[in-house]
């Protein structure tokens, strides 16, 4: 049994030797980029903090929204390392809990954007014709308008909430991926191996799923990494205007909005939340740059 498994593994190794070598090489190139590695560490750190928040936040109940009026607007001290806000809540606890919503929104919406945009682009590019024409004209309309403003307008009509903010972002962002993948599908469908698969009677669906989409994987991953950062900023912006996360939830964008009234004297309420946004988005952008050098070397930054 074990012998058969080892043999199968060895066989797999031999057959996929080139892919394994390529992956090893890519990892090595990525880890040479010190800024990208720093970004990766920050992202992992933030995700861990978001998960273990309840155990490391000094005042977890305040992180969840409970107020403590007797200690409101206190400057950073040993008791409250980053001070307290206008409800007397510990800002450090709020910043720790506040990591959850940006991470949740950015990962879920970016995944949804890709799941909607990529297949449409693949199908449009592969088949061409009328469907392609219609899809591309719809994309033209969406892409000819600033995406975040479109999202803001959508939420304005849908009503303010985290869920609606996510729906709005997905609605206004998917065409970017459709156009990206469509362009690659158009060039990929002329490739000899796709022609070969076609002559062998492989179905269109299988060709799109096995040849077209996997080959556009690199640029899509790069774009996703960069867009997670953009979506964090977009979601924070929506919360800042009052269209995203609603009080008493801890959210970085909302914290900046809550601290705005006090910013000139009690700067710490919003300052650290904004710093957290800057560091996390910066991390995603640095990783995205690093990935681009590896996965999509022809494009330039």
């Amino acid at each position: 049994m074990e012998v058969a498994q080892t043999a199968r593994l060895a066989d797999w190794r031999v057959r996929h030797q080139s892919s394994i070598d390529e992956a090893r090489y890519n990892v090595r190139v990525f880890f040479k980029d010190k800024l990208a590695v720093a970004g990766l560490i920050i992202i992992v750190f933030t995700i861990v903090v978001a998960f273990i928040g309840p155990w490391i936040a000094p005042y977890p109940e305040q992180g969840r929204g409970e107020s403590n009026i007797s200690e409101r607007l206190q400057a950073p001290s040993s008791k409250h390392l980053l001070g307290t806000d206008n409800y007397g809540r510990d800002v450090l606890s709020r910043v720790i809990y506040g990591a959850r919503i940006p991470l949740l929104i950015s990962f879920v919406t970016t995944a949804a954007i890709v799941l909607i945009g990529v297949p449409i682009g693949g199908i449009a590019g592969y088949y061409g014709g009328k469907f392609d024409e219609v899809v591309m004209r719809i994309c033209d309309v969406f892409l000819a308008f600033p995406s975040l403003i479109l999202a803001i307008v959508f939420v304005a009509f849908l009503g303010p909430s985290i869920r609606n903010a996510m729906i709005a972002i997905v609605l206004s962002w998917w065409p970017w991926y459709t156009r990206l993948v469509r362009g690659m599908a158009v060039s990929l469908r002329e490739r000899p191996y796709v022609e070969a698969a076609k002559t062998m009677g492989v179905g269109d669906f299988t060709i799109i799923a096995r040849h077209i989409l996997p080959n556009s994987f690199g640029p899509v991953i790069v774009q996703m990494t960069l867009d997670i950062g953009t979506v964090i900023l977009a979601a924070a912006g929506l919360s800042f205007i009052g269209l995203g996360a609603q009080p008493p939830v801890a959210d970085w964008g909302l914290m900046i909005s809550e601290g705005r009234e006090y910013v000139l004297d009690q700067w710490w309420i919003g300052a650290f939340a904004g710093l957290a946004i800057l560091i996390l988005v910066l991390a995603f952008n640095l990783v995205g740059d690093g990935l681009r050098d590896v996965l999509d070397p022809r494009s330039k930054r």
């Binding site: 803001i152 307008v153 900046i256 910013v263 300052a271 904004g274």
Partner: protein, 340 residues
């Protein structure tokens, strides 16, 4: 394709896109669950008042008829009435637009000038510590939340240093003593062309922080683009040849390479226009700057649907026109673009 055909095709696309945005906005405005007629007459209205408001707003007609009326209104300049100000939306927009235009144009000029200078410098110092630092700096520019940057600038330049005013377009005392004659509606420009130096100095000081905030993102993008396309240009055969023949590096950098690198840079400037426009939604709110972004956010928070629709269509119009101009200008400069 000739330039003429290219321009015509781009024009047709622009019109199509505008109709598309207007249609999307209509669909969104019609599937809203919230009650437009109630916002119009106020919270405690009787049913018959609401019915009357629906008639005034045309909400009792079938959907396709509403769409036709809406489209006709957009084309003929009847953009409806703001639910809050009870003034025609188009009048409001025309009133607020110049202030935004002034901000966005100034921010893009600042971003382009500094972005190109820094981009060229870092390309020159490629691989050095300054290059790494600048990569971090330009990436930070595209990673920063504009509304947070705005607040931090207020703390630094108003609260701590006391150099610049915290918000607004002019100081009240200056506005009373040296009122600005309205010509273009742009404060700084009007003060300048009427020779009102006191007001110009004052308006200019109010102008600085919003412009820096708006310029951060475009500058980061332009810097990165300049650096990479400079590096690419430096690798071109004839530039390597020139270097080998002993042309001094400075001449090489600024005369030969930069000329080649500018094409892609200007494409990016066109793209960052979207970010600058988006930025006004936040920046104008924080700096109490009475422009289109301020009007938009306050309309959204006040559920003023006709105003939201109007602003959306206006932004689409401005953005599409700007892109059209950039595209055509590029095709004129570099006819190969029209051939693609």
């Amino acid at each position: 394709m000739t330039i003429r055909a290219y321009v015509l095709r781009r024009l047709a696309l622009a019109v199509f896109v505008l109709l598309g945005i207007a249609s999307i906005t209509f669909v969104m405005a019609r599937i809203v669950p919230s009650d437009v007629a109630r916002t119009y007459v106020g919270g405690n209205a009787r049913p018959e008042q609401i019915a009357e408001a629906e008639k005034i707003l045309g909400l009792d007609k079938p959907l396709y008829e509403q769409y036709a009326i809406y489209m006709k209104g957009l084309v003929t300049g009847d953009w409806g009435e703001s639910l809050r100000t009870k003034r025609p939306v188009l009048d409001d927009i025309i009133h607020f637009f110049p202030s935004t235009l002034e901000l966005v144009v100034a921010a893009l000029i600042v971003a382009t000038v500094f972005g190109i200078i820094l981009g060229v410098t870092t390309a020159h110092m490629r691989g050095g510590w300054l290059d790494h630092f600048m990569r971090l700096f330009s990436t930070a520019g595209v990673s920063i939340a504009s509304f947070w940057l705005a607040l931090m600038l207020q703390i630094l330049f108003f609260r701590m240093l006391g150099w610049l005013p915290v918000a607004g377009q002019t100081s009240i005392t200056v506005a009373q003593a040296h009122p600005i004659t309205q010509i273009t509606g742009m404060h700084v420009v009007d003060a300048l062309i009427t020779g009102n130096w006191v007001a110009f100095w004052d308006a200019g000081r109010h102008f600085i922080l919003p412009v820096i905030t708006l310029a951060a993102y475009p500058m980061g993008v332009i810097m990165r683009m300049t650096r990479s396309s400079m590096l690419e240009a430096m690798g071109l055969d004839y530039i390597r040849m020139a270097r080998a023949m002993g042309v001094p590096p400075r001449t090489l950098l600024y005369k030969a390479a930069l000329k080649n690198a500018l094409g892609p840079v200007f494409t990016v400037v066109g793209l960052t226009f979207a970010n600058a426009l988006t930025g006004t939604f936040f920046v104008e709110l924080i700096f109490a700057w009475p422009g289109l972004g301020y009007y938009a956010t306050t309309s959204i928070l006040g559920s003023d649907y006709p105003a939201i629709v109007g602003v959306t269509v206006m932004i689409a119009f401005v953005y599409v026109i700007a892109n059209l101009v950039v595209d055509i200008a590029q095709a004129v400069v570099d006819p190969r673009i029209a051939l693609r």
